[in-house]
Symmetry: none
DNA sequence: GATGAATGAGAATTCATTCAT
DNA sequence: TATGAATGAATTCTCATTCAT
C-alpha cells in the first residue's frame, strides 16, 4: 500500500502544513518537496499531480477523522448522546490540529470542479454517518420525523462547519471544544424559549 | 461614481457569469473582457487587478442582497417572522440568480488572505442583521437567552449556507425556496420530538 | 511654426522635467501630459510619438545650448580663449539646468538606433564647432597639427562629458563651473610636469 | 559556482550578442533564450530577471576586461608606459569583441537607477586602477600634481570612452588600436605646440 | 526508487496611440 | 484644436511537470 512508503507520509504531512500556512495556490510543489525533504520529482512518484496531493491529504486525514468519530459514536447508545459525541469529536479533532483545521475550513473550498467532486466523495462518508445518527434518533422517537433527514443533516453539518470556520478565522482565541454541548443543545432544542 | 459608468456594470455582470461558469482561476481576464465586450485593457480602467474584479462583484451584489433582506425584515413585526423572512429572502435571491449563487457558495471560498478579509467585511454587515433579529427574539422573550448570540447566528447562517451549497452542488434539482419554512421550523424548534 | 504654439513649449518643458525625474522609460506619455496640464491626446497633435518628444526636447534645448556657446566663442579672439569659453559655457549651462543635465548625460544614452541617429545629428553641430576652434588653434600655430582633429575633439568632448556625467551622478555636490579652467589647462598642457 | 554551469555561460554569451544586435529593450528574454538554445524558463534559473542578465553580462565581461588591463600594466615600470598599456589594452579588447564594445558603449548607458548603480560599482574598480597609474605618475614626478586626480582620470576615461563610442558608431571603419599611442601622446603632452 | 535541472505553456498587466465627441 | 476613454499588442515571469542520470 501507498501508506507504507515512508516518503508518502512525509509528503502528506508537509503538504498539510505548507498549504495551511500559505494557502493552496501559494503552495508550490517545490515548496512542499522542500518541506518534505524530498526532491521535486519524487512527489510525482507518489502523486499524479498537484491536485492529487490536496485530495490525498484530505482523504488520508478525513479517513482517520471519520474513523475516530465513528468510534466515539459506537460507544454511545442513544442518538442524543451520539450526536453530542459527534460534535465533540468534530471540534476536538480540528482543535487539536490547527493545520488540518485551516486546510479543511479554508483551503479545501477551492473551486476546480474535479477537486470539489473528489472532496465531496470523501465528505459523503461523513454525511452518511450523520444521517445514521439522525435516523436512529427518529427510530427512537426522539427526533422528529416530519423533516427531511437531508435538511437536518445540513443543519448539523452547517452549524458545526460555520462554528469551526469562525473559530479558525478568529485564529483560535477561544475554546472550540467547549462549544460542543451548547451546539448540541441548540440543535436539539432549538431557539425557542421553553415555557 | 464608478457605478454610473456603463462599462463598469457590463464588466461586473460579465465577470459574475464567467466566474460562475468557469471558476475564478479559470476565468482569464481576457475571457471576462470578451464576455463584457470590452478590450482587455479597459478592465484595468475600472479595476485595480483581477482580484479587485471578484471583490467588486461581491460587494456590488452582496450590497443589494443585504438591502433586500433588510427591507423584507422591516415589514415583519416579530423576530420569529423576521427570521422566516430572512431565510426566505436568502433562498429566494440565490434561487433567482444562479450565477450569484455559484459565485457566493463556491468561488468566494477562495483563500487569499486579502480577498477573504474583504469578503468578510461585507459579510459582517449581513451577520450583524442576523444578530439583530436574534437579539429582538430574546428581548421578546421568544428566543432563549442562555446561549451566546454568536453561536445562534452561526447556526442560522451555517444552516442556510450549507443548504444553499448543497442545492447548488445538486445543480438546482429541487425548490430551494420551499425549504425556507422547514429550515425556520427546525432552527426554532430543534430536532426533538415534541411530546 | 511649432514653437509659437504655447502648448508645444509646455509639453517640452514638462517632458524635460518628467524624464529627468523618472527616466525615459518610466516617463509615460500620460505622466508628461499631466505635468504639462494637457490631455494625453493633445501630445499627439504636436509630436509624432513618444520618441519624437525626446528628440524634440533635445533639439530645442541643444539648439539654444549650442547657440549660446557660439556667442561666447565669438567674443574671444584666440583659440585658446575660445576653448576655455566653450568649456565654461558647457559647464555653466548644464550647471544651471539640472533637468537638462540629467537628460543629456543619462537619458539620452538610450539605444534605439533611430533615436541615436537623430541625437547625433544635433550633436554633430556642436562637434563641428569644437572642430572649428581646434582648427583655428592649429592655424594660429598654437595647437599642434600632428594629430587628427577628430581625436583632439574626442578628447575635449569626452573629457567634458565624463566630467559632467560624474558631476550629475554625484548629484551636484561640487561646483562644476569651477572645473572649467582646470579642464582647459589639462587639455592644453597635458599631464606632464613642465620642468 | 554559477560560472561552472554551462548554461550560465551560454546565456551570458547569447545575451551579449542579442543585446548588441538589437538593443537592450528590443532584446526579449525569449530571443535571448532562443539564441542560447535554452528554454525561456531556464533563464530564470540563472538570473533573477531580465535586468539581472544585463548586469551579469557586464560583470562577467568587465571582470576579465579589467583583469587583463591590470596584467598589462603590471608589466610596465613607469606610469607613462602603464598609461599607454592601459589605453592600448582598453582599445584592443573592445576592438576584438564588437558585441562587448556595442553593449559597453551604447546599451549600458541605460538609465534605471538600480542598473546604473550596479554598473558603476563594477566600473569603480576600473577607475581605481586608472587613479593608481596617475598617482604613480605623480610620485615619479612625471605627472603634474597641481590637478585633482579625479579630473585627470575623467580626462583619460572620457577621452578613451568617447573615442571608442565614436568608433563604434562609425561601425569600425578604422583601426581603433592604432589610436592608442596618439591618445596617450595627447593626454600626456596636451594640445599645445611645443616650441 | 530518487533526483533536480530543464522545460514551455500560460496569463496578468502596461501603456503608446487612436478617434469619436 | 482639445479631450480622455478605449484599445489591444506586446512581454515578463511563474511553476507544474518531465526525464536523463
Amino acid at each position: 500500500m501507498k501508506k507504507s512508503r515512508p516518503k508518502y507520509g512525509q509528503i502528506i504531512e508537509a503538504a498539510l502544513q505548507v498549504i495551511a500556512e500559505n494557502g493552496y495556490h501559494a503552495s508550490q510543489v517545490s515548496k512542499i518537496a522542500k518541506q518534505a525533504d524530498v526532491a521535486d520529482g519524487t512527489i510525482y512518484l507518489y502523486f499524479k499531480n498537484k491536485e492529487d496531493i490536496l485530495i490525498s491529504v484530505f482523504k488520508e486525514r478525513m479517513g482517520s477523522f471519520i474513523k475516530q468519530i465513528e468510534q466515539k459514536i459506537k460507544k454511545e447508545t442513544t442518538a442524543d448522546k451520539q450526536l453530542l459525541a459527534l460534535i465533540e469529536s468534530h471540534f476536538t479533532q480540528l482543535s487539536e490540529n490547527k493545520y488540518l483545521a485551516i486546510v479543511t475550513q479554508l483551503e479545501l473550498r477551492q473551486s476546480k470542479p474535479k477537486l470539489r467532486e473528489e472532496i465531496n466523495n470523501v465528505l459523503k462518508a461523513y454525511l452518511d454517518i450523520i444521517d445514521l445518527v439522525i435516523q436512529k434518533g427518529i427510530d427512537e422517537k426522539f427526533f422528529r420525523e416530519d423533516v427531511d433527514i437531508r435538511l437536518m443533516r445540513q443543519m448539523i453539518f452547517g452549524t458545526m462547519d460555520e462554528t469551526v470556520t469562525s473559530w479558525v478565522m478568529k485564529t483560535h482565541r477561544y475554546n472550540l471544544v467547549a462549544q460542543a454541548p451548547i451546539v448540541h443543545d441548540l440543535i436539539t432544542k432549538g431557539f425557542l424559549l421553553q415555557k
